[in-house]
Amino acid sequence: EDQVTQSPEALRLQEGESSSLNCSYTVSGLRGLFWYRQDPGKGPEFLFTLYSAGEEKEKERLKATLTKKESFLHITAPKPEDSATYLCAVHGSGTYKYIFGTGTRLKVLA
């Protein structure tokens, strides 16, 4: 069965302190790996889609990378407005669903 595990569960950073979030996955035939940002009481907001090992995507202070077993979301010089829960999801072959991990709650302190 397709599975997604995210770590750490929670992360506190000082403003400007770079770090990485991990998403480990098990899926039969990866069709896509997705990163979302979720603010409290809101729906997930799309960040990136990665399709194959070695692929990288960047957006402002965020960079997502993908290997055959895991993905990392690197946050460079974060700001307080980057505080949110970051969700990872996978789409496996032969399915019409996206499986989400439990997320990493990021808090960036000024």
Partner: protein
């Protein structure tokens, strides 16, 4: 930017009552989904819908749940007889394409918070 719209934002109901959650997906999207998130837990897949029929459903999506696309714009989730454990945030999502590299994105609405008393 186009967005997925959900109504109502909050719904309070008594156990055993029927509820209908409504969604207006992005207009040119073809694939529609319902997910739910119990407070503090992960976003869980309920059902996917394409070409006016269910593509896939989870174990959570039992006979008490149904989905419908009554016209060209709305997508609804009905819970026939609500239970306490149905209390959750329900998200509607839509995507333009499936399995097409470079264009696959799932867009979510802001959710309906369902409270069953």
């Amino acid at each position: 930017e186009p967005e997925v719209t959900q109504t109502p934002s909050h719904q309070v109901t008594q156990m055993g009552q029927e509820v209908i959650l409504r969604c207006v997906p992005i207009s040119n999207h073809l694939y529609f989904y319902w997910y739910r998130q119990i407070l503090g837990q992960k976003v869980e897949f309920l059902v996917s819908f394409y070409n006016n029929e269910i593509s896939e459903k989870s174990e959570i999506f039992d006979d008490q749940f149904s989905v419908e696309r009554p016209d060209g714009s709305n997508f609804t989730l009905k819970i026939r007889s609500t239970k306490l454990e149905d209390s959750a945030m329900y998200f509607c999502a839509s995507s333009e394409v499936l399995l097409r590299q470079g264009r696959e994105k799932l867009f979510f609405g802001s959710g309906t918070q369902l409270s069953v008393l």
